[in-house]
Amino acid sequence: MIEAWYERVARNVERVMVGQAEALRLMLAGVLAGGHVLLEDVPGTGKTTLARALAVSLGLGFKRVQFTPDLLPSDLTGVNVWQDGAFRFVPGPVFTQVLLADEINRATPKTQSALLEAMAEGQVTVDGETRPLEAPFFVVATQNPIEMDGTFPLPEAQLDRFLLRLRLGYPDAAEEVRMLERLRARHPIEALEPVSDAAEVRSMQEALAGLRMEPELVRYVVDLVRATRDDPDVALGASPRAALALQRTAMALAALAGRDYVLPDDVKQAAGPVLAHRIIVRPEVRIEGVTAAEVVERALKAVAVPTEELG
């Protein structure tokens, strides 16, 4: 059921997005797992297009916010305005289902943190009044890892709220040719039709709970996360929230593959996107070129996969 839904959505998105099948799969896993995605890549790789195509294909409400240094929290959450003798709440762009936070690291930490409540709890509090967001609520944030001037790196607490961090990368030559041919006329995203709706997405998210995950695989997830904490090159390892995120993402990947059980391969595939952005490498080894992704790779090579004991 989930596999068919995935095929349908992926086919639709691929009408406008060429060569990002893996990123799309992981983003859909993020949607299923009820998490948020941070797209990190250089400009022009299709981050915005992918997020928009996904929102349209899923039939979800979509809003885009360009994050700038002068963006205020109320610009996101909304404000109470005095109108006709009473305060009336004017909802901000966060009141949607897919929010594209473009170049999120250009806004001040104060504005960035205005998203925390929405991302973690699916609600927004303005002037002491809490308003729920419509489910499913999915934040796709983008940031440019190269151009760091005038940016405010996301705080750890906010990074931890992102289920996945993905890098799209450049398409290969054949894919780029295909893209040019396809986008010769007007951009097809204008003609993209939804192939799902919010109710279906919610039912898919609920179906995820029925997946089987062997206790030994759960232990494998925990061992992986703990291995990042024990790594001598790491100043801050992955949190217990990271373990939860890894488990849910692995389950979502299994569901997208049409399985009702999780494989260790699902965990391995999810490990990089889920864990790397939550790990802080020690500064002294960072300057030697050690990255968080390498720490995750080391953990994957150090932790035994549960299979059969040979004695």
Binding site: D260, Y261, L263, D265, K301, A304, V305, E308, L310
Partner: protein, 463 residues
Amino acid sequence: MKALLPVAAAFWLIALEPRLWPGALAYLLAWFLPVRWRGELVWGAPLFGLYLFWGLELRPEAFGDLTLRLQLAGRLTSGLLVWAYAAGLARRRSRWAAVPLFAWAFLLRPEAAVVGLGLAAWAYWNFWYLRAQHLERGADFRIAPRALAVAVLAALGLAALVGLSGWTPLAAPRAAMVPVPSRGALETPTQAPPPPVVRGPSGRAAPAPAAGAALPGWVDALSRYAAVLAAVASFLLLLVLARIVWILLRPGERRFGFAPRMLVLAALVLISLLFWMAWYGFLYGGEGVGAGAFAPRPVPVTAPAVSAGAEPAEPSPAAPRWPGRVLGGALALGTLALALLIVGLAFALWKLLRSRAHEAEDPLSGGAGVRRRTERHAGRVRAAYRAFLLAMRPRLPRPASETPHEYAHRIAVREPALAEAVWGLTRLYEPVRYGGLADEAEAAAAEAWLQRIKAELEKGEET
């Protein structure tokens, strides 16, 4: 499931003497322990059997006698040691290394051979059962040499301790507290054994058989062996009952894997009960005739006098003839068996209805035509994959951090001749290992892929 326990408890209470109720209830209540400890209770079944068997002597007056008290303490302690050691081994892979522990029974007396055989049968039963369990899980099943060595040493040590203490576990229930005749006494039946205090299973001193002419040695020996056989029979009975409870407590598919063999167990129960009834006459442990049921004449115990300090013997009640006792016992057995059968059938029916309801609800099951997926078949698939890993180990071992999929991919690249078979086996293995059960066809296919891999490997070695 636990709702059946009060029913079972009621049967135990009917079948046992009141003074044995606390132990029986304690054993039954122990089944409320967490699931992971229940397995140890099966190992504890023999101890419970010992309790019931020798518990017949747990009467207040026994505690006034220092010798009896020491003997009792020795029995309970050594029984507990055996249990604890077996249970300890049970947590390890080579738990059946506990088998040598039972060799101690052979070191004590000739009659011990019979008890030893019973214990060996029990040990073999456990061995078979555990082997099946391991194979189901696809786990390794072999004896760890260190555990075996420890078991042998422990057995010898225990035997030495038991030998030094002078305790023997082999007295028949009616004469359990009596100094046991020596080997010589058995070999030369004309030599009178020391005057015994003959106690009935109910704890009262029973009248000793009337003095009579000495019987031939073989009759005496047969009589004694029959007494021990009755003990073994009751022991087996308890064991089988514990097994039945255990199997009923096993969840879902795992329970029915051994169903055909349970018929053998049922036959064992019947035979055991016949022995038991023939010995005791009544299920509740009344004053039976003991070996007299088997021997043509009373056992040649020539000294009926009650030893000093012991309670006086009560007059013998007019006991019915042994066919009458057997019939009485059979009636009790029939009632018990019928009640158990009704409970068992009700339970099986409930399970059947529930599994059908689940099949109807589960869209993946495919309804009534679904193939039977069991843990046993899953165990075969896992065993095949394990054998594959072992076969590949000298040639292209799997690193611990590699998933089955990654490993198959690596083999396919390095050994193209193996690719198809390895992928075939891996695709069968993954859903079983991480997803649950398998059916007969999958298990057979996994084994076929394994044979093909082995054949390819052998071919490769030849060339």
